[in-house]
Symmetry: C2
Subunit: 390 residues, 2 copies
């Protein structure tokens, strides 16, 4: 005989954690840090639409639109192109969980904080992680990468296209071809480049990439676009045993996102409303125009910072238009300065990570925030608030 | 010498995937399926607020509010209580990834679709999965569970509190005590019960639980609340080796959500705005009142369905107030009927899963959707549209 529960008694509920709160009231911020950046008003309005069901045919159509526009943004024909129902880090792990098998040699090129994360993730899936390293602020030359491919013959190479901790843009010419010569899959982090700097996944021979919603796409954080090309799909098919991660199993995900529409999990409906609008706006502007705008405003920022006597951390040839690292001047407490800028002016800039901690500020101009008026506002504020700048 | 990229040429961008779309326009739905349910207007308004940074002190305060209100909703003091930055399935996997080690015996009690998922997930982490089974529509007695604990001496027992595929509420009396007697961790799925039916995690001796944002909390999908108690924390500490999942590593997550505030990933800021409002509204109504409302409206629905001559799939003693399974009458194409209800009336009901596929409809009354007027609307529509109902 199955036992039934006693009916709930009002006195039984413990009130200890029952906070009594006012309705949400958050401050307005201009987000010029490493992300999130401000979301476009149309994106926010879309997120406030009442949700439909995650298997509603109107939502399935929207899923197709999101996939197609992601292909445009990445310049890829990859069938397996979807937003993972989590943030960019989970999209990253999707690539690794699905294609790494125990004992695979995974070459990680580290020139900042995020390379270390790549190594940590890969090691959790049993990869034999091999590291090549450059100081923060530098990029890898094709020769350096190819030498490592020759030496280690890795099954995968993990590379960061836009290093958000360092402000470096990795040159991609020849890298994909070199990986193909050595039978290596190329995994490229495009978290801070998708929609902001020139990116041609297929032309570059990139096999897998991941990004996020909250940087150059002007959407809040919460979705992690991922794309997996034919060579990586082959690797998937030749796996022995299940992917050791259920939520990020791309085969299960693609049955939901593909024509089968098999239930896997409940997609974040409203986040996808937002991402669809963000991608629609990007397509409306056009990739070229968006890239050029990011470049133009970055140059304005660089000139402005230098006019204040500040020193940029990355050589112009490798400097990332979407995220600028600038040295904190002598005698200034970088963290306290950023905090007062946030509290007194509502403007967020980022502090350093990893080897750049305490040394640089990180200034992002991403998505709709890449605008001349934002550059002018920030430069004016720095001029007013930095001792000695005039 | 590092190679630089050629400047982007306008002609270089491939326009093949550049969809030209109208602004988002989605239909209004009354979501009476297995979830998502309709979000509360205040929740949607909160989600449309401009995001602040994920390390902004105002957001860190909000994170604390969300954690505290989750403890209230679950009736637990667990320190490790957070919303995972993904959907409920990822919260589920968080429990498993962190506490299962290769070779652990994991007892899964299956009385519906979701028990099979529990077994699949656990097997991916190397568990020795042992299954006990009941037909859909039934629950496990304490005697049956204890007999399996005695026989298999598992390190974990996975149990579904509210089986969303079957519409069954699992009686919990004595289960936690039995697990403690056998040194077994109790993992309880509360995806369709949190906020909707009486739930006392600590009093019941539940060691871990997970839920979602989109059912009885009236928030869109996108966050997966998870809570991990002291006995499960002990297991965490005694692990050998890293958790084989980076994104869901609760130790890394708790450094971000705890007092350390160490950067791990970028939290879905706007989704957390929404969840904070959803939990605030639940605390304002009070758990008792919310549970009683769900029960009252479920009884209205059951009476209404029976008055139409329809047969409910679950015995009243085990019937889940938040999700009702009702047999599709002879001669009716259940899927086509649900589709026409959606397209012609804007009302979503769910079809069957697993052994109930093609046999039942699933009607959810969750969160703010648990209201007498919704029950009346649905019963009226069924009366009009079902052949023979009058």
């Amino acid at each position: 005989m199955t036992q039934t529960l006693p009916p709930p008694a009002t006195s039984a509920v413990d009130q200890a954690h029952r906070l009594s709160l006012d309705p949400l009231a958050m401050p307005e911020r201009l987000l010029l840090g490493p992300g999130p950046s401000n979301a476009h008003p149309d994106v926010l309005a879309a997120m406030a639409r009442p949700p439909v069901g995650h298997l509603d045919h109107t939502f399935l159509r929207l899923m197709g639109e999101v996939q197609e526009l992601l292909r445009y943004a990445w310049q890829t024909d990859n069938r397996l192109t979807i937003p993972v129902s989590a943030t960019g880090s989970a999209a990253w792990e999707t690539c690794i969980a699905n294609t790494v098998e125990r004992g695979d040699t995974f070459l990680v090129a580290i020139n900042g904080y995020f390379g270390h994360r790549m190594a940590d993730m890969a090691s959790r899936y049993g990869a034999n992680v091999v590291i090549i390293k450059k100081p923060m602020g530098q990029a890898f030359s094709l020769e350096e990468l190819e030498a490592a491919l020759v030496e280690h013959q890795p099954r995968l190479l993990g590379l960061i296209h836009a290093e958000t901790s360092a402000g470096v843009l990795q040159p991609m010419e020849g890298v994909g071809e070199a990986c193909r010569r050595h039978g290596t899959l190329l995994l490229l982090d495009t978290v801070t480049s998708l929609g902001g700097v020139p990116l041609f996944l297929d032309r570059w021979g990139v096999d897998m990439s991941y990004s996020c919603s909250q940087k150059c796409l002007s959407c809040p954080p919460g979705l992690g676009p991922v794309t997996i090309g034919p060579r990586a799909e082959e690797r998937l098919k030749s796996r022995t045993g299940k992917v050791p991660n259920w939520y990020l199993d791309i085969t299960l995900l693609s049955q939901y996102w593909g024509s089968d529409r098999v239930y896997h999990h409940t997609a974040p409906v409203n986040m996808n409303y937002g991402l669809r609008e963000a991608l629609r706006l990007l397509a409306e502007e056009g990739l070229d125009a968006a890239w050029q705008r990011h470049r133009r405003n970055a140059e304005l920022l660089w000139e402005g910072l230098q006019s204040l006597g500040l020193k940029l951390a990355v050589d112009e040839r490798l400097r990332l238009p979407t995220l600028t690292t600038v040295y904190i001047p002598e005698g200034v407490d970088g963290k306290a300065f950023a905090r007062s800028l946030l509290d007194e002016e509502g403007v967020e800039i980022g502090c350093g990570l990893g080897d750049f901690a305490g040394k640089v500020w990180r200034i992002g101009l991403m998505g709709q925030n890449s605008a001349a008026e934002n550059v002018e506002r920030l430069i004016d504020l720095l001029r007013q608030r930095l001792p000695g700048a005039a």
